[in-house]
């Protein structure tokens, strides 16, 4: 079982089967060294080339890849974990399959032999798989349901070229990478490109829950899984029963994620989700607790108080990493080499520093609480949408929008006239509360303000249709869903898959050869949670009510009922004044900006001047500054 990097080249034309060069495959694998430092392997034959970098976690001696079936007709490269491989293996043995290793990689081969393309339906895990079926001359690329493990591909000169990271595609490409300007505009709206787009032209991701088949010179794409919501049959089951069922599923999801031949640790932010995870490990397993947390020198971002409560309560062996504001700019470029995409917030950078702490502590695997907010309704954006919907019933009310002040006490708005101000900030689409993306419009509008820094050329070139692209990517049945579920769907498919699990997730873990595991994103948990009525997920404005109910017995009240603090890192202070080095400032110089031609150097100059005078930047200005700088850096790292 391995967290690792995969890559390969498959010729799509059946006529011209030439030998894929081993040197190209090795060069691709070398670009993924950080993902798998323990071993590497390459397999090539006419028309097929597979490459692999391995980080050993389970069956340390027998998981070499590419792996082949005994008859050699199936060849596989695989990144990730199949957590239910033990159960699947037993079932396959009962059907007469024989195994040579204890690894989950071998289980995938047998699953494919037994079930064909349906094999993926039974896998519980996080994975990116490339599978060559020589008998059928068929190549399969498949990615896990929610987008934990990355997988990219491109088509060039009759070849399908794929890899865990875009940088590993480069050795096989004849053409140089180019910017996908429409994707840049999507990042400057939704924080991430709309799947399957990436920041690079003609480079696509295999979408979460997607299976791609190359056969008979044709590519077919199948969505084998998606987030589906149905609350009807749950109205008759009591809230307590649902909380208990959720509890049992979470315990099981956590238990199978502790399967490894190396020690497993956990991230502990001090928030509810990671506290729940750590409490479950404590109560239901014999795994010694080893936890890791981030702390900030800037107290306003720090959660040490709550982390300490839990550490004392559960007696974990704990390591802290204190991140100074200046550390963020110092590590910004290195982080971007791994995100392979512009970012609008600095939050990924400290996550990369935290995984270095895990690595240096001789740990390769951590459990982490991502996904709980999407699956169980924890984000402020869900509350905000609820209040805005309540407000939309009476848009002229001066009282209804005041509930927003409860959500955002730091807004510090004046006592009089505040309804007018609140309407400006949150009143987006109040007259159209049934709009599909009603919940997300305020965020997208705020983010899109960064576009005022686009150059005239970029503005001319863009279609201005990012919102349409997003809307077209959403399934038609979304409009029949409960509006709370609708918001959950959009959040899970856009920000979570495109940014949180990628730029802030896998990329920041794998850069230090660490694997993250996400019990809240177990598909059994998701499928059950998607049937829980929204009123139990968010009771009034009490977020993740059902999770709190199901876990209250294991945690102190102080943790269960603490005010939710989303993970944030210093943005503006980290990227202005003395923190912003000359090296980074050079990327924002008029010469460099004009050379790329994406941003208006004069406007950006005023933005830097404003930041340097010590004036606070608004959220959208800060996002613009980080977005512009990161765009310039990524271009230099991958294109110039």
């Amino acid at each position: 079982m391995i967290m690792c990097g995969i890559a390969g080249v498959i010729q799509s034309s059946s006529r011209m089967k030439t030998q894929i060069k081993e040197s190209v495959l090795s060069a691709m694998a070398d670009k993924l060294l950080h993902r798998g430092p323990d071993a590497s392997g390459v397999y090539c034959k006419a028309g097929v080339g597979l490459a692999h970098r391995r980080l050993s976690i389970i069956d340390l001696s027998n998981g070499q890849q590419p792996m082949h079936s005994p008859t050699g007709d199936i060849s596989l490269v695989f990144n990730g974990e199949i957590f239910n491989y033990i159960e699947l293996r037993e079932a396959l043995i009962n059907k007469g399959h024989q195994f040579l290793t204890q690894s989950d990689t071998e289980v995938i081969i047998h699953m494919y032999q037994e079930y064909g393309l349906d094999f993926v339906q039974q896998l519980n895990g996080q994975f990116a798989i490339g599978l060559w079926d020589d008998n059928n001359r068929r190549f399969v690329l498949v990615r896990d349901r929610v987008g934990i493990c990355p997988l990219y591909y491109t088509l060039e000169n009759d070849c399908l070229i794929f890899a865990s990271e875009i940088k590993a595609l480069k050795p096989a490409l004849k053409n140089r990478l180019e910017i996908n300007r429409e994707a840049l505009d999507q990042i400057f709206t939704f924080w991430a490109p709309v799947s399957p787009q990436t920041f690079f032209k003609n480079i696509f991701e295999v979408s979460p829950g997607q299976l791609i088949v190359l056969e008979n010179n044709k590519i077919e794409k199948y969505q084998y899984w998606d987030w589906q919501f149905s609350n009807r049959d749950f109205w008759t089951i009591s809230e307590d029963q649902q909380a208990q069922a959720l509890h049992e599923l979470l315990v099981e999801a956590t238990r199978i994620r502790l399967r490894a031949d190396v020690p497993v640790g956990a991230y502990l932010s001090g928030g509810l989700d990671s506290s729940v995870l750590v409490a479950m490990i404590h109560h239901y397993t014999n795994v010694p607790l080893r936890t890791f947390s981030l702390n900030f020198s800037d107290d306003s971002f720090d959660e040490k108080k709550y982390q300490s409560l839990l550490i004392d309560h559960l007696q974990t062996k704990h390591s802290r990493l204190k991140v100074a504001t200046e550390d963020i700019a110092r590590n910004f470029k290195q982080s971007l080499y791994h995100t392979e995409s512009p970012i609008l917030r600095t939050a990924p950078v400290p996550m990369g520093l935290l995984s270095a702490l895990v690595h240096n502590s001789q740990y390769k695997v951590v459990l982490t609480g991502e996904g709980a907010d999407e699956v169980l309704g924890g984000y402020d954006i869900f509350k905000e949408a609820k209040v805005r919907h309540f407000w939309s019933v009476n848009p002229d009310s001066n009282l209804r929008p005041l509930l927003l002040k409860k959500l955002y006490p730091y807004l510090n708005l004046p006592d009089k006239g505040q309804a007018a101000y609140l309407k400006t900030f949150f009143g987006e689409a109040l007259d159209e509360p049934d709009k599909i993306c009603f919940s997300h419009l305020p965020r997208w509008t705020t983010t899109a303000k960064a576009k005022q820094f686009y150059s005239a050329d970029l503005n001319d070139e863009l279609s201005g249709k990012s919102l349409d692209v997003m809307l077209n990517s959403l399934p038609k049945q979304l409009k029949n869903m409960h509006r709370f579920n609708r918001a959950q769907y959009i959040e899970s498919k856009s920000l979570m898959a495109g940014y949180l699990l990628s730029s802030q997730g896998d990329r920041m873990l794998s850069m230090n050869s660490v694997e993250g595991r996400f019990p809240f994103l177990d598909h059994n948990v998701i499928e059950y949670a998607n049937r829980i009525p929204p009123k139990y997920k968010m009771k009034g404005l009490n977020e993740k009510n059902i999770l709190k109910k199901s876990m209250a017995r294991y945690l102190t009240e102080e943790i269960i009922y603490r005010h939710k603090q989303p993970y944030r890192a210093p943005d503006m202070t980290a990227m202005t004044g003395d923190c912003l080095s000359e090296e980074l400032r050079d990327y924002l110089s008029p010469d460099e900006l004009d050379k790329q031609g994406l941003f208006d150097s004069k406007k950006v100059g005023f933005l830097i001047k404003k930041a340097d005078t010590g004036r606070s930047l608004s959220v959208s200005e800060s996002q613009a500054l980080i977005g512009i700088l990161s765009t310039q850096v990524v271009i230099e790292q991958f294109i110039n």
Binding site: N412, D415, Y421, T446, L607
Partner: protein, 86 residues
Amino acid sequence: MNEVAVNTETLLRNYILENYLFTDDQSKLNNTDSFLDSGILDSMGILELIYFMDEELSIKVLPDEMIPSNLDSINNLLAFIERKNS
């Protein structure tokens, strides 16, 4: 308009132009443009503006005065400042 008022107007206009519209092009801001409706200022921007008026013009905005009719455009600001100074 007297000289002080002209200076105040220039000061306010340049502050808004440079810090929120990121330009020195005077044609980008009309004195009647609503800061809220046109999205020029957000919540932070309003607080910054109040701070700027205190620092640069010695105008203290009281909580009761933090309403759009006082703060929502250059003209509203100028009228508000004139009332405060009279």
